[in-house]
Subunit: 437 residues, 2 copies
């Protein structure tokens, strides 16, 4: 084998942010550098790393001379070719990226919130300047879902995309189901295992998943998605009995991030849903993520793997860096640009059609079941199954599932049912996704 | 939206072969042309299609003036930029591709046998000439496994790769397991459903899977794989009782295509194996394919989908065409070249370590079990479980599983056991893969 490495151009990287993802990407590059350089035909050097606290102990050893607390020493360094923004959050990340693009630098980022909120503008600016802008690490960690949608499935019309894209909530739901833990205990366990952050709000309320599905929908449907229009419900309403009853009915409960083509519009939302146990997404357990895609040509395709963590997300960032450097070396940066050519509206949740599961406490006497069923029917909601559960002290708990109906109709039915004199309480209701391609 | 289409360059395609895959790729391009052209910023035109029988009825309508029976009208047409070889087999496909490359044309192919046997030479020639050479459709149909290994996971050292990459045999094994069909009945059903070819030899004997795993291993380990060195065993020895006993032990039987890093060498092979029922590959049913990857950074990753068929494979070919055209338009063809920089040997099957399942008929009397166990031990094979099954007429059927051992040792043990006077017959033995990442 001939050593061509002395002929290879040197490409210099700058990092902004050196936490879990930043140190992960650094480690991935560092541990496999000879093979990585050979594959891209270039030498790589990390020239500068912007951190908040230079003194903080880190899981990787770097020369302290590389560290700075001033992001402009990265964005403005004329020798740096590629800026890796791995700090997260909208500001100041956005300003740093804009500055880097203005200075003619290619950008790699794993910043889901920023891409979901401002991706179109940033990508358009990069495209104008023929710069690369890569963000595979922003969705589902090491799972190459963005690359798959942009390149491998590019010839398909994407019909739907169902994702389990938040590891924390999937871990919590798995443990509530398998070990019968309460939400609080499952969350504490996830935190102890390092899957959940100290402040789990963004995960538990579904915001994290909403950013991710907004990004995937924009690529799948070639339209920017206004994140404010994405309906988002977290795990707040999932109770332990619901998980148990769902299983009896042949379902598990998953926090689904959903994007479906609906004519000229798109149906983009995040919420817990009952998923049939024999669907491939049902077997995605613990902290794992998966995206189940239905494409016009490819049919059903599922990608499954680790959706977070230092090395898996570092794998995606390092892959993006390699792709960018290939383009730098061949003068083809900006080769795959933003593909949001159209403007599609998001279907309001009231018009979205799913099936529904409802758990209702009623008086335990003849005619009550018929009355509740009548109220579903009167609102145009057709029933699929009914299951009488625990009954004591003249109160029966009844579990219903319905066929698909627009959410407005189901909510009207539930409102009427909750007002009925024979009903004690509508304990809970959860959407059901039975047809996922 | 501004219509820039009149500014876009025109890129002309030529097809050689217009059967299941060729017509599939054509349909995929044709049905989604406006969006496809917009994504790549180029207009596409299929200029010529080489077929064997121009009069044959086809599932897609094409202008008969495009058809020719002379492949040189495709390879030699100075207006054609990209040649899509979709006829399959080594010759004359290889000669046509060489001719196309000599004439400066980019090549897209789905020809697994050709890539497995001659890929390195063809890719090197393309790289020399800075031409694109894409072959995503050659492995696992619409599943973007080649693109994932080459781009998204490029920064990883790939540790292992376990694939179900032949839909016909997976369908047969699924139906033998779930419906208790015989091999012959399951094969007939697969043929009736269109999953198996009239001559199923290449599928059933594992050759098809061997070509595919040779291609994946060469990308994963950066070394060409000599297909003659890939151990390959098909479904010949899988019997219905083995499927039943495997399930009792917590396994299913799958035809696995395996590639593992083993120090400076690589372990590349195809054979049926017992797979734990709780492993994600166990739930890959019917005609579906999947590849389960373990990477140094990404950890476990699985891609699941339709591994064959007109539109899924057409999806991969059309994706390759789009990627090639992006490179043509940006002058960056040959951007991702062959990455076989090293020469690694394939571990001979005698040195490969797996667990084993064995079904053995013995005399039904005290001391016999101990004698068989002694013969395993004397050959350095350590036992994991033993299960006494049906016993009649003084003959007992015993099912053993072993811990991992080099195959040479297990074969020596089985040879000694089959010679033992207390043993009636070694009915069958099958490898066990318990640790897949």
């Amino acid at each position: 084998m001939t050593d061509h490495s002395h002929d290879w151009p040197l490409v210099r990287l700058g990092f902004i942010g050196f936490g879990i993802v930043g140190t992960g990407a650094y480690r991935v590059l560092d541990e496999n550098l000879p093979a990585i350089q050979q594959k891209i035909g270039a030498r790589l050097e990390v020239k500068r790393i912007c951190v908040r606290s230079p003194e903080k102990p880190r899981p990787v050893q770097v020369d302290s001379a590389l560290l700075t607390t001033d992001a402009h020493e990265v964005t403005d360094d004329p020798e740096i070719d590629v800026v890796c923004e791995l700090m997260g959050g909208v500001e100041p990340a956005r300003s740093y990226i804009l500055r880097a693009l203005e200075k003619g630098k290619h950008v790699v980022t794993a910043n889901k919130e920023l891409i979901a909120r401002q991706g179109h503008g940033l990508l358009s600016l990069a495209a104008q300047k023929r710069l690369d802008f890569q963000f595979e690490g922003s969705v589902a960690g090491g799972i190459p879902i963005i690359n798959t949608l942009k390149v491998a499935l590019a010839a398909n019309r994407i019909e739907s995309l169902f994702g389990i894209v938040n590891g924390t909530t999937n871990y919590i739901l798995t443990r509530m189901g398998a070990a019968g833990l309460t939400f609080a205990d499952a969350l504490a366990e996830a935190q102890a295992q390092g899957f959940a952050e100290a402040d789990p709000t963004s995960d538990v309320y579904g915001y994290d998943a909403a950013y991710k599905i907004a990004i995937l929908a924009s690529i799948a449907f070639q339209s920017t998605v206004n994140i404010e229009e994405v309906f988002c419900e977290g795990l707040q309403r999932v109770d332990e009995p619901d998980i148990r009853y769902a299983r009896e009915l042949g379902f598990c409960i998953k926090l689904l991030a959903i994007a479906r083509a609906r004519g000229d519009r798109m149906d983009v939302r995040v919420h817990p849903a009952l998923v049939p146990l024999d669907h491939p997404l049902a077997s995605v357990a613990n902290e794992f993520n998966a995206v189940f895609i239905k494409g016009s040509a490819v049919g059903e395709l599922m990608l499954f793997g680790r959706g977070a963590g230092s090395l898996p997300t570092g794998s995606a960032v390092a892959g993006d860096i390699m792709e960018t450097v290939r383009n730098v070396v061949r003068g083809s940066t900006g080769r795959v640009a933003c593909t949001c050519f159209t403007r599609k509206e998001v279907v309001p949740i009231a018009e979205v059609e799913t099936g529904y599961y409802a758990r209702i406490r009623v008086e335990d006497r003849p005619g009550v079941l018929a009355e509740v069923a009548r109220l579903f029917g009167a609102n145009g909601v057709s029933l699929e199954s009914v299951l009488q559960k625990a009954s004591h002290a003249d109160v029966a708990e009844i579990v219903w599932t319905t066929h698909r109906a627009p959410e407005a109709r189901f909510r009207a039915a539930i409102e009427a049912i909750s007002q009925s004199p024979v009903v004690h309480e509508v304990c809970n209701w959860i959407r059901v996704e039975e047809e996922m391609g």
